[in-house]
Point group: C2
Chain length 499, copies 2
């Protein structure tokens, strides 16, 4: 769907707020001026990011995937085989007057051109001519020539071994394939995932953590046989679950997306096979687990001209953001046997599995790939709100399970044993929850601080608490206050924080 | 203490085992030949590593530290200020015959020279002459000249901005100092930590994950005033805890390490102040939480000639490994106001705090810094064992809380509803524990497989289980088997797995 590329007023307000409230600082190194595309997760942002990563781990683990951690740096041989060294680059156009460089396709998309990222260099130049696009910096004319700028971040191992910071985790997840044969005892499916950093030397990235030069990725690789694709035991239990789907055909016929069950989607040939449909379902499960509301998500199939030549099918999970409209946040790909074949060819090693008759074949790979920074941004974007009564009072209405602070503990005053009691409660709760202790300022001010960083529950310990062994619990969104017994706190909060 | 630098038979056996059992693969990219110093954490190793990272997070959080995540890549300006660009390098010596390069200090240490890493270039050359050290590869003579090899891994941002993969997390943790002022509301201590990747372009690293070119670090930075150092409220509650200490004085006088309470150590001036003593205590707590046995740990003070010129005090936490003897696994440093002053000077910004009278001062930094790969290796090294009855049967006797698989679930046979029951139990348990399901091979073989990867508890579901709603639980080290009710499984395992 359409994409807004630069920071508009909505996103400017949000990103300033995220910096002020210790979620995301940058661009870094801020202290030394800052370079586009590098961000720090501050004390609260990092907790939110950890919560996201744990949610991802939990869903993958529950579905039989095992995590691995491959190095970030790999030598040129790997990226030659994967194709990144030859073709992972962006089209750049340079201003003839001020010499600034821009990503040609992104400039055109800002001018309303759709899918310019799939244009050939020639088509890009023709569109620049037709639309008479000038330099956004100085209004000068562009040199009508596309240069290819590699996105690979080069480095050196030892004295002279050419190497690169990986541009994606995926390639590095395929490489230990022979070890997976051992770990899964030669029995497909091999199901693995990786969470880690990746690097892309983008030309002038301008969308906060949605497009940074250093980012965190999560992706799963499911190695299957062709037969498994059409006969996938995990499909049946979820076939009646529904997703909002927008097939290539619907897009071509200008039809709207449609909510349908996996079963129906398979019958209508929206999906080619059960295993792929299940992967699309699983990606949606992960985003639900991260707290993204179902009604903000859409699954969009790539049209043929958007797909890599080897990909049999490809879908995006898109999220409708307030600041950037519909934004691609995850890709689900049927990569066939392309990657294993390439690495077998370049490494001159055999990367195969055996069927029941002992016949060797190259497994297919079904992939779910996404960044963690985008769902992070999506949560902040979607749950950023203002009190109806007072537009200056901002609150982040995170689902409690995702909140960086789940419970705040306040003594009414920092004296008369109230602080001691509050600290005791804090210490009991912090074994199970993300807890924050605060004893400074008025209670009202402490509530506001916690609203602004998305804390769903605040507990206040007052003089009555000392006698009755209870606390006041105050809920963020409704601002309702109730007294509950300290003895019941842990189990009540457990229930609340699963939401 | 003394260090063995290369892989001896003990560590060769262990590292081969860790690869075979899917803990650590490499050096990577194995498929393309492999380059020293890069390793992959396989499905079981990654779980163990995650458990370590979670243990670290928990201890830091419980003591008021907040995690941040700064980018891995930072431009030259940062590393100029930190001093890394000018002085983070290793002394290299080159063979005149075969042209191989070696780390000069490490070669000398292998020849029995102690602390050669603190030698000047001149002293290194003199020692080479005196000891008549020749090339380990070809026995040729060395060129008697030290070259300085930078450990920094260089890259480029955009078209031409010189940048580096960070050689440590620490520097990048100081940089958002101004944001910490906001987050901690201008009230010292500011307590932050970071867990993340760091890179060092070592010359021919040869000690498995103990010295790799890409590794994971964890470190805390505690910003304090000078007054806080001598009056640290968290010290009192732990002052009677004891540690095995080896002060610089004891080392110089050839005395053995001594177990003493923090209180006594402070009285004896082994520590200069309460806050530093508490940091040493905290580092020890973290290593206990990671499962390292107390009796395998020693805290050793740096002698004056080992310390950086600005450091007021520095201690190492060392672990006695079976394969490498006493090995430095953590450093605790009083970095004074050195880093903030340097970054203030280079960035031309004010990095100060205010005392109660509003007077500005530069806070001091107390640091705990360690890699995660070393305690990972230490756990594998220390808990690698063989059955008395059969030396071929290897088991990893991990503490249950650290095990990559805490509980394995086996149906006696994969039929007659035993597998269905087993899967039900698996699904209940996997919400709380790291669980593994296995239905293939004899029960004895399944036990052995789990012993070898350190799983403390195996549950078997047999025909009696269907009637009596119970399972057989088998303990790894004692091999004892007991029947317990399924209804009690979760709470019993909870208790067991906290060990």
């Amino acid at each position: 769907m359409s994409k807004k590329n630069t920071l508009n007023p909505v996103s400017q307000e949000l990103t300033a707020f995220l910096s002020e409230k210790d979620f995301v600082y940058g661009p870094e190194p801020e202290l030394y001026g800052g370079i586009a595309g590098f961000y720090t997760y501050g004390p609260l942002g990092k907790r939110l990011k950890n919560n996201l990563e744990n949610a991802i781990r939990t869903v993958f683990n529950q579905h039989g995937f095992f995590e691995v951690e491959y190095p970030i740096i790999a030598p040129a041989a790997v990226w030659k085989a994967s194709g990144h060294l030859d073709s992972f680059n962006d089209p750049v156009i340079i201003c003839s007057k001020c010499a600034s460089s821009f990503r040609a396709d992104k400039l055109l998309e800002e001018k309303g051109e759709k899918n310019a990222e799939h244009y050939s260099d020639q088509k890009l130049i023709e569109t620049f001519k037709k639309k008479e696009v000038n330099c956004p910096n100085c209004k000068g004319r562009f040199n009508l020539e596309i240069k290819r700028h590699s996105l690979m971040m080069k480095t050196t191992i030892g004295q002279d071994t050419e190497a690169y910071n990986r541009p994606e985790t995926a390639t590095t997840t395929y490489l230990p394939f022979k070890h997976y044969q051992n770990f899964f005892r030669d029995k497909l499916p091999f199901s693995v995932f990786q969470i880690g950093k990746a690097f892309r030397n983008e030309i002038s990235p301008r969308q906060h953590v949605l497009r940074s030069r250093e980012f965190s990725q999560a992706e799963s690789q499911l190695f299957v046989s062709k037969e498994m694709k059409t006969n996938w035991p995990s499909f049946k239990p979820v076939e009646n679950d529904s997703l909002l789907l927008w097939t290539a055909e619907m897009q071509e016929k200008n039809k709207k997306p449609e909510t349908m069950s996996l079963k129906k989607a398979l019958q209508k040939k929206a999906f080619q096979n059960q295993a792929f449909a299940w992967n699309v379902w699983l990606s949606h499960q992960i985003f639900l687990a991260m707290g993204i509301p179902n009604q903000k998500m859409l699954l969009r199939q790539h049209k043929k001209d958007e797909r890599a030549f080897y990909a049999e099918d490809a879908w995006d999970l898109e999220i409708e953001l307030n600041s950037f409209d519909w934004t691609e946040c995850c890709g689900i790909h049927d990569r066939t046997d392309y990657d294993l074949k390439k690495h077998a060819e370049f490494s001159k090693q055999k990367l195969v599995a055996k069927d029941e008759k002992g016949k060797e074949f190259v497994p297919h790979v079904l992939e779910i790939a996404f960044g963690i920074d985008r769902p992070f941004f999506a949560l902040c974007d979607l749950f950023y709100a203002k009190r109806k009564e007072d537009q200056k009072r901002i609150l982040l209405q995170f689902p409690p399970k995702m909140a960086p602070i789940q419970v705040a503990v306040f003594p009414l005053m920092a004296k008369d044993g109230l602080d001691k009691k509050a600290r005791e409660i804090y210490q009991t709760l912090e074994k199970k929850f993300l807890v924050y202790y605060d004893e400074s300022g008025s209670i009202g001010r402490r509530y506001s601080r916690m609203d602004a960083v998305g804390t769903p529950y605040c507990l206040t310990i007052d003089y009555d608490s000392l006698e009755k062994n209870d606390v006041t619990i105050r809920e963020r969104d409704s601002m309702k206050q109730t007294r509950i017994l300290i003895s019941e706190l842990s189990s009540i909060l457990q229930k609340y924080s699963e939401k």
